[in-house]
Amino acid sequence: MGIRTLVAMLVTALVVIGALATQESYKVFMPGLLQGAVLTIEIAILGSLLAIVMGVLAALARMYGPAPLRWLATVYVEIFRGTSALVQLFWLFFVLPQFGVTLDAFLVAVLALGLNVGAYGSEVVRGAIQSVARGQWEASTALNMSRPQMLRRIILPQAFVAMIPPWGNLFIELLKSTALVSLITLSDLAFKAQQMNQNTFKTIPIFTLVLLMYLAMSLVVTIGMRLLERRASLGLARGKAA
């Protein structure tokens, strides 16, 4: 799908939200839902940043780290990939305090979702690095670069382009997973919706608005990643048609 189609979808979603919000039966829910949406966005952004950091670190540690680091990274990836995000949230929020470590619910949300998605992200990073042609490593070796220099200047910039689409998927996964944080006392978008629904039983307006809001947020992610991809591949693709 082209970026234009995506932008058209996003505009449509926003216009429909706006139009519905003018109606009395929908209007009452808007302030609460928007409040929840802000928290959802905050968790999604911070979680995504943590996921990127963890993904890159874990991938590099697994590929090039000394044995203990490699081992640690593998354990991290397998634990966070092999158990559900919900269980991770519960464990950090309800079990950790039993061992005397109590974390704020917001921090737990960011940590659990970021670490969870970062574990998947490390495989994305690893695959992208391995997809860079062997000749690039050999040329860098022949120019006597050190391993960190090769990675930073030659390999990662090329791997970056290949990473963007799969990271886009992960960010959207993370965005949708934020709904889980309603189960650890946070008033995110999903929590607000459920709460209002229980109080008013206005199921149709509430969940229609919520659906459109999630859609709008994920479209923003998709469009952003497409633009990034287009920009990043510019150097690699430049002149290919020429």
């Binding site: 690039q136 030659i154 690699l236 430049r238 002149g239």
Partner: protein, 259 residues
Amino acid sequence: MTEQPMVRFDNVSKRYGALTVLDGLNLEIARGEKVSIIGPSGSGKTTVLRMLMTLETINDGVIWVEGEPLTHMERNGKLVPADLAHIRKIRAKIGMVFQSFNLFPHMTAMQNCIEAPITVLGMKRADAEARAAELLDMVGLSEKKDHYPSQLSGGQQQRVAIARACAMRPKIMLFDEVTSALDPELVGEVLEVIRKLGREHDLTMLMVTHQMGFAKEFSDRVCFFHAGKICEQGPPSELFGAPKNERTRQFLHAVLEAG
């Protein structure tokens, strides 16, 4: 005392599992000498270059560069396998040009040529650019300096790759079948650059090639490899004019027939 050879392979072997690619190779290359390696595919000729560039490890023997071990280092009077710091110190004397160019696709011709001088040698950007501009001029590509590899022909890419290797000021240049991936009409421009390099720079050159005409005209010595060993070597006039070994004769006959 005679001068140290620039490169010395001392009984070097390379095996992949049960397959022996190089079998006790002994080869000395003098300072400034131009040596061509020819032979059938699978004879181990590319492996010689790749070992010298440290792209392959060796199983036996020692490789020496200017009297210093490359694959090993001296510790308490004994030779032990070299660590990375030692390898990088010696490797700095060697540059390589590849069959498939291997330019960095996300960098322009100029950026390709200044990357390692800045990051590895610590040169100032302006100095690195000045040197790269000279080298791009030498390979006849001054006007293409802001082009990306994908915007250049194969011959132009290979010439940039030669400039990029020269920018590190190596003493030894390795050419691994550098015209094999090129369309026939582009081979000449690359060979011309190598000739020029040989004339104008004080470089020791070691090349694996299928261009018999070029090997004959350009080299001081030609080595014919067969089954992981040097089967015959000598000045091009002798090796091409009056090969002594039966296998050399067969190979040259087959190659010249095809050419």
